[in-house]
Symmetry: C3
Subunit: 373 residues, 3 copies
Amino acid sequence: ACGLFAEVAQAGPVFHFGEDDQSSLQINYALQLWAENRSYTSANHEGSSTDTYLRRNRLTFFGQYNDVIGYYVQLEATGDSRGGVDDRDVFYRDAYLTFDFRDEVRFIAGRFKNTFSRENLEACLEPLTIDRSDISYTPFAGTRDTGVAIWGNLADAAFQYRLAIMDGREGENVPQKAPRVTARVHWSPLDPEFDYGYRGTYLGTQRVFTIGAAYDYQADAAYANYTQLSNSKDYKAWTVDGFAEYPFSSGTYTVSGAYFNYSLGNAINEDPDPTLPVNTELEGFYVKAAYLLPSPVGPGRLQFFARHNGSEYQLPGGALDRRINAAGFNYYLNGQQLKLTLEHQRIDYANPNPTNPVLQDNFQTILGLQFIL
Amino acid sequence: ACGLFAEVAQAGPVFHFGEDDQSSLQINYALQLWAENRSYTSANHEGSSTDTYLRRNRLTFFGQYNDVIGYYVQLEATGDSRGGVDDRDVFYRDAYLTFDFRDEVRFIAGRFKNTFSRENLEACLEPLTIDRSDISYTPFAGTRDTGVAIWGNLADAAFQYRLAIMDGREGENVPQKAPRVTARVHWSPLDPEFDYGYRGTYLGTQRVFTIGAAYDYQADAAYANYTQLSNSKDYKAWTVDGFAEYPFSSGTYTVSGAYFNYSLGNAINEDPDPTLPVNTELEGFYVKAAYLLPSPVGPGRLQFFARHNGSEYQLPGGALDRRINAAGFNYYLNGQQLKLTLEHQRIDYANPNPTNPVLQDNFQTILGLQFIL
Amino acid sequence: ACGLFAEVAQAGPVFHFGEDDQSSLQINYALQLWAENRSYTSANHEGSSTDTYLRRNRLTFFGQYNDVIGYYVQLEATGDSRGGVDDRDVFYRDAYLTFDFRDEVRFIAGRFKNTFSRENLEACLEPLTIDRSDISYTPFAGTRDTGVAIWGNLADAAFQYRLAIMDGREGENVPQKAPRVTARVHWSPLDPEFDYGYRGTYLGTQRVFTIGAAYDYQADAAYANYTQLSNSKDYKAWTVDGFAEYPFSSGTYTVSGAYFNYSLGNAINEDPDPTLPVNTELEGFYVKAAYLLPSPVGPGRLQFFARHNGSEYQLPGGALDRRINAAGFNYYLNGQQLKLTLEHQRIDYANPNPTNPVLQDNFQTILGLQFIL
């Protein structure tokens, strides 16, 4: 089923070389420039603040070595100039090889997106709303991890499976180093989603209905009793998600949602090591929906969207539990290649922190400009 | 007036692609390798030192997406190997989009050179002397800032205007986050300087006379009384500058100068936050001049130059106030693409620090090799 | 003798441009992905650990500006994701210009491999075993240094000389900053090794016998009495090395070895500055050997190898003194461009540390996948 969908229509230059021109290199550049107004400044400053920064800023080099073997390497500096922190260090966001023996049996090796949540796997540059939800990041190796995955499409890509053996949690606080294992399946009976990455919207070019589920596991990821180095706990997480997008004559409608459950034997509420993240014990969900007008509005296409996220941590006093409501629009001047997005978010804490403005009810408005070469 | 001046004659490869080949990508590499001898080593070591380092080291990817939209992204590690600090982190020195609707109305958005001083806007790889003066950097976002600028050329580029809304000073020590606003105009009646960037020399290919002025402002940039979080002050700066270069049969003569005045309500001498830079209260100037011989000398062209900078801080005891005298030559083996520069600098402090060799009268000699692919 | 050997057969795309297409740019990507099992975790955790990481991860841009002048610039993030440290900062591993006037007189300027030990000069992506030995790195500027080298081949490349003036040790703990001087010669009477870099194996394509020797020197590199800032000592090191590889009908045999002697007036055992490395007083050697089967095994070529390293530091109680025995194989699916390596190492300490597992006898097994575009 490979090749059914067109790749991003225009993009950076592609070079063919090597024996019979079987090798290729494509160079892309992508920038998300955000201007943000926020109702607080920092934990110590409750005044509002404005900030312009480079949310994503990526040079990408990728291609095929031959029919089977491909490569992908991406330089990034996330959130450069955010909060006045300029000239952030560049790092390799992705660096991996692909081995595509056939559509049913594909391998990825290196540093690449972990294969747990649909939303993390939705392309960073093809989201539905301005960005994904925090809850779609796993506690360890939030968005990318290092290791190997096998995946493939079955039954004309109506089914997809993925199995990844990755590093997961590492370091000297891990009781016993075991690999992280992630398994994911989806069913995509209409126009199938057959790539390793999903998209947040297909802009009405596809008829998609996909439901997926994933399980994430690492044995002995933390001590519940770090003082005694005892009571080792396993990390377990699961998620289910759905996505539907359908073009009608009245416009294209998108709805998507997911539920998440992360746990680590409640170690966070016992006597954990100091580096254990608070989101190891977390339940949450998001729903998001959009409507893309059927005809252009001025020189571009207009898509309204809304999102609702909920997070329940298992922390004392219900700390950090919150709901996020957001709404806005995308204005596609040339598909995802040149896009303006405006999103307004309201964050409501179930139990606001009495002193820290970051953990009190707040709002932010973001105007985003996206460019992809 | 666009296109009047040739761009740098030779440079990295250019690739055309996309529909009707309207998109382009150019890849450049530029290296400034400096060997430096200095009369001191550090604040704790008054012995002389030698050092070879990579003053600028840049991979640049830029081009046009279409006739209107362009992009520019540049990787850099400044001063790599200076003082024995090797393998410095690479960051995005520039990352911006350009929207050139017509010569009178152009926009830049992203991270790019702030538009205050002429010398900061003179291309880093086309200076007159080995480098610009410290005083041409603003206290906040010294060379680059993040935001949006509108600019354009009027009256056949005899006049140029620029207006930028940028981040300016940010973070939790800023009383109230307001945007930084920078305005700049110049008059360039002969061969006009119509680019966003200037050059330190045109090597006799142009007849240039330009005078410019700029104003820089950010409301509520610091507390004069940080202890009480009161007495908020505005940042204000202004500069005037001139540049003239004219080729005669006896050679090409260049003279340039600028005056700078930075102020922030004298907060630095009251009770400021600990991160307020000392150059928020500063007055200074530079003058520089050069003579390019009319005929080649050996395989290249020889240009002698001299510079004088003065800085007066408003600090107790006249600390940091200094004069710099420098002289040297550029030897252009192939224009700016392959150039040797030798500069000798003497730094004289009005009130030398009694113990710190860095703040005592000193000198340095720099041999620089510049290469641009 | 230049051009006798083919460069790496296939590699990234090459672009020609400029006047008469005399300039070129080649873009390469290289990844070494390692999966490692180790008998300890850290100084505080003696349990075994597994780890997958990106040992080398490099984007390289290089080429010729014209017949004489070349350039080479390489981005890297070493050991990315090792020990759970993800997203390591990218830096310029190499950045230099080459001036090749003729085979007897060549210059390199910038940041490039220091020219002391053969093994450090063996290409990182063309080793014989999975990696080089620690002892082949010098105490200051272990693998790369900044400065200038002159080198060339004499007598049809049977002899090669190199002389480098580099930064060496720098910073305020250096008594008096003098340049580091490195000299190296080799004799290569059969198929000559005429590049600045060596290879760990030629895979049976050459008949090579090379012996080399080098001397490394920096005056006044450290105080033996740092408290009094007195008793300044010179750094001196020397090495001899040999390499032979010969293809027979029974297969290709490779043997190589080197001896190293580093000294800095025994300052490390007196009262040195706190940043003086322990390997300033060190004696060591390696021997390595390999056998490449004459015919393919399955789709690739199989090469067995073994290595033995010994290090004797001059530290109290014989601390750190150790032997390393390693064996494994390379499986070349397409020369060095796609290769699997498995190596098992045993590290035996002469005087194991009583509490720190890192400094006790241990072993590690590494499976490496190498890809070069």
